[in-house]
Symmetry: C2
Subunit: 352 residues, 2 copies
DNA sequence: CTCCGGTTTGAATGCGCATGCAATATTGCC
DNA sequence: GGCAATATTGCATGCGCATTCAAACCGGAG
């Protein structure tokens, strides 16, 4: 009561304007430029100056306004990350790792989540308006869209995506190679009658995986392959296996699912709905190496994407590009980690 | 080929400064204010004005600078979302839904991902510097931290968290109630010897769940309960079950795991390492109702958090608070959806 | 005491936009 | 046609900060 409302610890609670560098300057009895310099990296300021300013700033609860700073430095220190529903569902580490790694470099992540890959346009509009320093996208871009971003001077890293006929920076896992390995392993172990459960039509990753599998099968002389479309969910995997059984009348030797969730769905369906043994009666393989695939009840034979190394690469590449816009395009392709799980009957490789 | 390199759609490729409202104004032969008004909601502009400006803007590839706009309007149209590693791992829908819902209101999400709940301080500093309009946190805040944010005039919504001795807006699922139901069901079906697998020590959610379970057990006269700590991972669930077996020498009637992943780990361990039947020899229950819990091989009896309704509530509450800072605090508590899966031996409830 | 190199500081400016105010154009109404 | 009321436009200003430039300062060598 011995003082007016404004307490010493900081300005009054909330209802008022935030302290600016001018307020701090006034309280510290210095110029605004001095305050600005104290809150920067390479600026010169005497020890005494620094102390006075910091004391005043502390008293006022002052924090530099990153928005204003961004306006003048032309650097927002934000990058946009575009993901689809699927991305975060099947690789929840992706976003977290990416964000943490960027954070280590003082960069914040502005997140954009698409319902489906496709409604990117309004999103890109926002990305451009926020003057982000860069963009990582795990969703597809049309050449047109890609050019719009590049023209705005924003470096882009594609994550497991490509843009047709365009030179772009990308980080991806070699999906086709992984599928080829899976098919080869199955073939070597004697599997001949194959069914493939694909992902949704608009998924480039699914397309690539299916292409890899079909190509390898073709090389091995197998052409009569049953194809069923799923949507990456385990429910769709169950449905797909049921459809395969309905059409074939008996289980195929092996089911190649475009991801682990659907592989699990296939296994569930085989066991529960058809009383089959996995891998006794039918082998099932997936892709991704996600958590559930490693549970003992499934132990899916699969290919794991090295998400950690991929996010690391994406962050490093983007930061390089932000620092130097004229770097030429680069593609970093990672091989997946091959996991010989118990869901498929494979040759024993006791090559120790 | 019939045109020079630079197309009509926008200016030259990247290397130059982005177009500003002045550039557009000049090209359109109008004032800068006119341009500004055309790119706003309720501003008055004649049809002709609008056309001229939009044509010029299009030719220059102009987009309003959201940073500059934020500086002057004192609204960044960004909210901060703070999550921990765990959050995104076990509720991948949370982030995506939240982001999409905010997006529908023209609000962008600035993402902060914590390694562990605890290193929030530097993060909050960033949150404050970016002048976000609001904050949703799925990580714990100290009363001190909470006050800092509130003093800055930033509305906060706590997600499945509370701040001790503090009036805060929150959206949460009633963990204790869910746990009480699970225990009651197990008890009714004759289970008497219980073991509990808790989550990590620093997880408020785990604490609340364990408390709920223990409290209900106590009410039922059961006090000798084996407690083992896990870390929410299925691997820790396996380890926990092994430890329980080691200490008890025989399986308990029921294992109450603090989340589904650990419940699955327990089931795997019971079946594989100890040759037990679930739920024949031991019942296992979890919490969360996440995807893998619904796989046929586990079919975990659990309580599902209504993530959809919770994110909806969080977004609605925050937007209300952004519009009207003086709204009093509100807590919205949701009951979980009770799922009677096959992982526990329960009484038949054919109450149809 | 003077002069010079280096460091620290302050005044002034502008980043790109929204907005209050005054000037002007347009419309409606008698 | 005349005038008030309204809609449209331009001018000027400032949001909060970084940064340039010149002034002030400091210490040491001569």
């Amino acid at each position: 009561m011995n003082k007016p409302a404004k307490s010493a610890s900081n300005n009054d609670s909330g209802s008022h304007r935030r302290a600016t560098s001018y307020d701090v300057a006034e309280l510290a009895g210095v110029s605004q430029s001095a305050v600005s310099r104290v809150f920067q990296q390479g600026a010169s300021a005497s020890k005494e100056m620094r102390d006075r300013v910091l004391t005043a700033a502390n008293k006022l609860g002052y924090r530099p306004n990153a928005i204003a700073r961004g306006l003048i430095t032309q650097r927002s220190n934000m990058v946009a990350v575009v993901i689809s529903q699927q991305t975060n569902l099947y690789y929840p580490e992706f976003l977290v790792q990416l964000t943490q790694r960027f954070s280590e470099h003082g960069i914040r992540v502005l997140l954009f989540a698409l319902e489906h890959e496709g409604d990117i346009d309004q999103m890109l509009e926002q990305v451009l308006q926020y003057r982000v320093d860069g963009l990582v996208t795990a969703a597809m871009l049309s050449p047109q869209q890609f050019r719009t971003i590049e023209n705005a001077g924003i470096p882009v890293i594609l994550y497991n995506r490509t843009v047709p006929d365009t030179l772009a920076n990308s980080v991806r896992c070699d999906q086709a190679e992984g599928e080829r390995w899976l098919v080869s392993e199955l073939f070597d172990a004697g599997h001949r009658r194959f069914a493939i459960v694909t992902g949704p039509e608009d998924s480039p990753v699914s397309t690539e995986r299916t292409r890899g599998a079909l190509q390898r099968l073709d090389e091995l002389g197998i052409r009569d392959v049953k194809l069923v479309r799923g949507d990456y969910s385990s429910a769709s995997g169950r449905a797909a296996f049921a459809e395969i059984m309905r059409e074939l009348g008996e289980p195929p030797d092996a089911v190649v699912a475009a991801n682990d969730a659907m592989a699990i769905g296939c296994i569930d369906s085989a066991r529960v709905a058809f009383g089959l043994e996995v891998p006794g009666d039918v082998s099932v393989v997936g892709f991704d190496g996600v958590g559930p695939a490693r549970f003992a009840a499934y132990d899916v034979t699969t290919v794991r994407q090295p998400v950690g190394r991929m996010t690391e690469a994406a962050v490093a590449m983007l930061i390089d590009r932000i620092g130097n816009t004229s770097l030429s395009a680069e593609q970093r392709v990672f091989s997946g980690e091959r996991i010989r799980g118990g869901s498929a009957r494979l040759l024993d490789t006791s090559d120790q």
